[in-house]
């Protein structure tokens, strides 16, 4: 078990290294191949009015003319020990972990990410709990009442939930509940948990529900399919033959087995979500990582995009590892070797 975890951790680190190389290549190598020069890059950092000499000087100071490998190594080194950036108007210090320095907003990327993390974390935590509980409950009931009105209705709603993107459901919900009925917070209203927990929940309830609707639908379908399969298993018949109440048969014996794949997917989904729910955060103007990423993309702020990508990749890789470990806890037949 311990050796397994160590091996998986090393694997996770390697995975992140590969992600960093791919990310770096996408932003620094691919444009070069497409004909973008070092001075073109430097141009982004110095502003429009700069002279050609300033741009060339900045390109040299930032090492944009160095071999790609050297630039990559410098970027990685920054993550561990910090970095200094000199773009002509003085040296900017970027302390470790330095995931880059934005020349658009003139600040290191990492503190930005840390600032926005609580928002994304709040959104992910609330939404995932709602969709897990709702999805599993609906899925179980649907499976037990297969073919009933409830089942059919639930599955139609689930299908729409899976098909409708948050920028549709979110906007409808906003116009209906926030601006129409005025029972939920309007978009852009976010109160940190530490300031006022009630306000926090109030400001997030609609984004939670929107995001949960999308995923609950998928979970309901998955749970339903899992329960239908499980309830036909021989061990369910055995549980009934012991004289167990049907409710115990369903919750203890049925759900226990049907939940295994749900746990797996739940872990991965939360991992992905921690990297920012881009659509939902934008619809509700929540200052989280997803919103940060879209802003960075629209201003072509490379260091921010790269920092965000690395953080999101980190969450996904860790979620994968945790899910694999959890799998052995959930299913005793799985041996981690």
């Amino acid at each position: 078990m311990v050796t397994y975890i160590i091996r998986r951790l090393i694997g996770a680190l390697l995975m992140l290294a590969v992600v960093s190389m791919v990310t770096f290549s996408i932003f620094f190598v691919v444009p070069r191949l497409a004909g973008v020069t070092a001075t073109d890059f430097a141009n982004r950092y110095v502003g429009r009015a700069a002279t050609q000499e300033t741009v060339v000087a900045v390109a040299n100071k930032l090492g944009l003319n160095d071999p790609v490998v050297v630039q990559y190594a410098r970027w990685i080194k920054g993550i561990f020990v910090g970095a200094e950036y000199d773009y002509g108007a003085g040296v900017e210090h970027c302390p470790a972990p330095c995931f880059g320095y934005s020349f658009v907003t003139k600040n290191p990327v990492w503190p930005d990410l840390v600032d926005r993390m609580p928002v994304t974390l709040s959104l992910a935590a609330g939404a995932s709990i709602i969709w897990l509980l709702a999805g599993v409950a609906v899925g179980v009931l649907s499976a037990l009442k297969r073919g009933s009105i409830f089942d059919r209705t639930a599955m139609v709603i689930a299908l729409s939930g899976v098909s409708l993107p948050p920028f549709f459901t979110g906007l409808i919900a906003l116009s209906l509940f926030s601006y129409g009925l005025r029972i939920t917070a309007p978009g852009g209203a976010y109160t940190p948990l530490t300031e006022n927990p009630a306000e926090w929940a109030y400001s997030l309830i609609l984004p939670w529900l929107t995001l949960a609707f999308l995923n609950a639908a998928a979970y309901a379908r998955l749970t339903r399919a899992g329960m239908l399969e499980t309830m036909g298993e021989d061990y369910i018949r055995t549980a009934r033959a012991k004289g167990l109440r049907e409710s115990t048969v369903i919750t203890k014996h049925g759900l226990r087995a049907a939940l295994t794949p749900i746990v797996t997917i739940f872990g991965l989904d939360v991992g992905i979500l921690l990297g920012g729910a881009i659509l939902t955060e934008n619809v509700f103007s929540l200052p989280g990582l997803g919103k940060y990423a879209t802003q960075a993309i629209s201003t072509q702020d490379l260091p921010k995009i790269m920092g965000f990508t690395m953080l999101a990749a980190f969450f996904i890789v860790m979620a994968n590892l945790i899910v694999d470990l959890l799998y052995a806890v959930v299913d005793p037949r799985v041996r981690l070797t």
Binding site: E233, D234, Y235, R237, T238, A239, R240, A241, K242, G243, L244, R245, H253, R256, A257, V330, D331, P332, R333
Partner: protein, 343 residues
């Protein structure tokens, strides 16, 4: 009322499907006393497993149509409430299933599953129940039971799993024990051990035992009485001696002929029953067995028009066949028995 411990009368379990009505069990009657063993024999799809599930009230829920009477120790179960039958399940009557790997929950330890079964019907602490589980595991011959009680089913061998399954079924001292193909999933050597174990335990517990199997060898070991099923109906019912020494139904002859025996010449071929079991939706008209019966021509044309009745031929030995009694006996004595013993 019934003075017998288990008395099944005209039991019918039908399943309506899109293709038609499946008559899995179609008018089955038998009796069983405490301490006695009944073997129910038949091919796949003859209705033997559905019968046992029906007794426990486990035939698939709302869709099945069940009629007839099942008297267990003076109580009628078909008309009883599902909740009442649930309370009897596991305590008064319990079941050993065919494949212990799929019949035990893979996520719970063997001990937890036995403890659960015991605590449903007995208000005891977990500790007491655990002690009971360890005792039971020891009793069914599992070595180091206090350690193995915490193992998962997949950590057991096939034979050990079946022993654990038996321990689970015995946890509440059931008075009726139904074993559905208890040895089918096991090695031959392990089969014999499990059968021995069941015989010993039945003696200790004085339970009524129903063994459901397609293997006449298994029932020969254990049974007092044997019921041969075909197409959802009993076609021959009698003491083990009747069935093995004086079988009168051509299907029973077929079963005996297709049973491998060590006292036969290795070169000699088994005598399989031709054809396959009937569809339970379109049961052949007349005698359900007639399309596969070698003696169908000797019934005077009744075979495919009239359903034969289950009639007593001699001292509790019942047969469902159109052939005249004398002719059946003559065929057994001159054509079938010599072939079975020719080796």
């Amino acid at each position: 009322m019934s003075e017998h411990f288990l008395d099944v009368r005209d039991l019918k379990i039908h399943f309506p499907t899109d293709d038609g009505l499946v008559r899995s069990v179609d008018g089955l009657s038998f009796k069983l006393e405490r301490g006695r063993t009944l073997g129910i024999v038949g091919e796949s799809g003859s209705g033997k497993s559905v019968t046992s599930l029906g007794i426990l009230g486990l035939h698939k829920g709302g869709r099945a149509r069940i009629s007839g009477e099942i008297w267990l120790d003076g109580e009628e179960l078909v008309s009883a409430s599902p909740e009442h039958v649930r309370r009897l399940r596991g305590k008064k009557m319990s079941m050993i299933f065919q494949d212990p790997l799929s019949a035990m929950h893979p996520y719970f330890t063997v001990g937890a599953q036995i403890i659960e079964a015991y605590r449903i019907h007995n208000k005891v602490t977990k500790k007491v129940a655990r002690k009971h589980a360890v005792d039971l595991l020891g009793r069914v011959g599992i070595p180091q039971p206090e350690r193995r009680v915490d193992s998962y089913p997949h950590e057991f061998s096939g034979g050990m799993r079946q022993r654990a399954m038996i321990a689970m079924a015995l946890s509440c001292d059931p008075e009726l024990l139904i074993a559905d193909e208890p040895t089918t999933a096991l090695d031959v050597t392990v089969q014999a051990q499990i059968l021995d174990l069941m015989r010993d335990l039945q003696r200790d517990f004085n339970a009524a035992l129903i063994i459901i199997t397609h293997d006449l060898g298994v029932v020969a070991e254990l049974s007092d009485d044997i019921l041969v099923m075909y197409g959802g109906k009993a076609i021959e019912y009698g003491s083990a001696e009747d069935i093995f020494e004086r079988p009168e139904h051509p299907y029973t002859w077929g079963l005996l002929g297709s049973m491998p025996r060590l006292d036969r010449e290795p070169t000699e071929r088994l005598l399989p029953i031709k054809g396959s079991p009937p569809s339970l939706i379109n049961v052949p008209a007349g005698c359900a067995f007639h399309p596969r019966c070698a003696f169908e021509g000797r019934t005077g044309g009744k075979a495919n028009t009239e359903v034969p009745d289950l009639v007593e031929t001699e001292g509790g030995h019942l047969v469902r066949c159109h052939l005249p009694r004398e002719e059946r006996r003559a065929i057994w004595a001159t054509e079938i028995k010599p072939n079975l013993e020719s080796a």
